[in-house]
């Protein structure tokens, strides 16, 4: 299932996206580097304020600008740096090469356009086909996302569909031009668990059929365990740990990762002891000194208060923590 070809599709290097607000500068993404290879599903896990969504928006260059700004970094897609492209060139990438699916389908679907018009719009914009040709493709795309009675659904308006169907339509729009990378930001958070199961199955099937790479952004560790190949853990704008999915869950190195995993509840859990990670996510306008996690960390040392740790390789993990010396 995971392709072994190491064809690197996307490489984000030292991305920094800051927000300039009247309260101060918010370093939403502060030096993030990640890679996506062909055929993989990469998870970005974090809580609020971790910067995971802004990272995705930065890749798509959809960061609201003011007050946000990509102040540093390079994003290489198939060889060229996306950040240096003109807006016109970017339009041909957005939706066609790299597509995004958002959390709440109701806000992202146009309520006054029929489903087929919205999908057709994506096709005509990127593939230069006529409206009629596009409409035929619409049915094919709807079948790909396993929508029952696609011709009826095509003629419906978003509010006439259920939450699960709407999410499928969003996914349909996103894959209509066969993108190489699909970014999904909390795609199932707003859905019931049985519908979520359907969408996750769909994602797995699409990945097999279309060989699309995916960036899955979520705070739900269950979904990560279910679908992802590799995982990046983000905290307060930085990546704190990165490894393949089995290693992250079985042998988390960073105290935040292990704290998060222990806090996560599970239907498998027999212990009724509730573990908690104390403290709160830091205020990004006035962040703590040194390592941003140190105020909450049970293992914090003197150096943690002073210097921010750098990402280092430790075995099969990459981790940013002073507990681990350079190997």
């Amino acid at each position: 299932m995971v392709t072994t070809t190491n064809a690197q599709l996307l490489s984000v290097q030292d991305l920094k996206t800051y927000f300039y607000t009247s309260y101060g500068i918010v370093k939403a993404v502060d030096g993030v580097s990640l890679e996506i290879n062909k055929g993989e599903v990469v998870g970005i896990v974090g809580e609020s304020g971790s910067g995971k969504s802004i990272t995705a928006l930065s890749i798509m260059r959809l960061v609201p600008s003011p007050p946000g700004k990509i102040v540093q970094g390079k994003i290489f897609y198939k060889g060229s740096d996306i950040l240096s492209l003109s807006e016109k060139e970017m339009v041909s990438i957005r939706g066609k090469e790299i597509s995004m699916v958002f959390q709440d389908p109701l806000t992202f679907l146009n309520p006054v356009l029929k489903v087929e018009d919205q999908i057709a719009e994506a096709i005509t914009t990127h593939q230069g086909k006529t409206k009629n040709e596009a409409k035929k493709e619409v049915i094919e795309v709807l079948k790909m996302v396993r929508i029952p009675s696609p011709s009826e659904v095509a003629k419906s308006y978003p509010h006439q569909l259920s939450g699960g169907m709407r999410q499928r339509v969003l996914i349909a729009i996103a894959i209509s031009c066969n993108p190489s990378i699909l970014i999904a930001d909390e795609p199932t958070t707003a859905l019931d668990v049985t519908i979520q199961a359907q969408i996750l199955e769909l994602i797995k099937e699409l990945r097999k059929e279309l060989d699309t790479s995916m960036i899955l952004i979520t705070h739900d560790l269950g979904i990560v365990a279910e679908v992802c190949d590799r995982v990046y853990v983000m905290y307060a704008g930085k990546i704190v740990e990165h490894a393949d999915v089995y290693r992250i869950f079985e042998d988390p190195l960073h105290p935040y990762t292990s704290g998060l995993l222990r806090s996560a509840l599970s239907i498998d859990q027999f212990s009724k002891e509730l573990y908690t990670l104390e403290g709160n996510v830091p205020n990004l306008v006035n962040p703590p000194s040194g390592c941003l996690f140190h105020p909450r960390c049970a293992y914090a040392k003197e150096i943690c208060r002073e210097k921010s740790p750098v990402l280092q390789i430790k075995g099969e993990h990459t981790v940013a923590c002073w507990l681990y010396k350079e190997t």
Binding site: Q196, L221, L265, S266, D268, L274, N280
Partner: protein, 325 residues
Amino acid sequence: MALVEVENLKKYFPVPSGLFSRERRVIHAVDGIDLAINERDILGLVGESGCGKTTTGRLILGLLKPTEGTVKFMGQDIFNIKGVELRKLRKEMQIIFQDPFASLNPQKSIRQILCQPYRIHNIADGVELNNKVEELLDDVGLTPASFYLDHYPHEFSGGQRQRIAIARALALRPRFIVADEPVSALDLSVRAQILKLLKNLSNRFKLTLLFITHDLSVVRSFCNRVVVMYLGKIVESADVDELFTSPLHPYTESIISATPVPNPRVTRSHKRIVLKGDLPSQIELPRGCRFHTRCPKAFDKCQVDEPQLIEYRQNHKVACHLWNR
């Protein structure tokens, strides 16, 4: 005698129909449920959207009037009393909501929000009131209390607001608290903190909790009994470990199966039951068993007869023809 007894509770909401339409259609939000909540229970009420769990919670607290049926609290029919008696009852049951941003009045300071219950019931005044309110904040882990009192809700994070909402619910020292998805809108690490807080408080103040949620992972660690609802009816109820180890109703099986486990080896080896289709309309209900349109184990009787909730094993009830031969 159970603390809360619900009998044949129904709540229908009218569907706005056109000016010239003759039919009066209704949404069958809650369609005849019987429930008993014993003292010190932490009862999980689970189901997906449209199952009626939120409406049930509101009905039990008397915030909504039922279309039919009764709710008895400590033996008293809560819809048959008024005035002073109703006020006394209000002190015994409180609610915590899902959205910490919507459940606190943005125009009121924390002090005003927390003083309100004491003020309404004439419990305390002046310095004594101040002390009580500070104690409440201490109880929910917001210290130093004086820091929080004179600020406004929008200045705090989701987790902190939820603690304030819990403090408000505790002010009148109720016996019974309905928690409607209290942690769904919170981050993972904050979720755990709030659940731990609730557990400690329920032990300390001998509370009975009705915990409404769609997240089964939370239920497993937190509740002692579970009731599963689907389209306005109870389909299964049991002690928590019994429900997860031997679920009887196919719907229960499917939602347990659909819940991902944060452990890749376990969750990927697991054969998932994926239900076909979507939730049917709450207005035009399926005939026979409401679940039959999506049930992988449905057979002919299911399309015709609606199954009754029967006690299949000790403390384990189920409404399904598979177990009702």
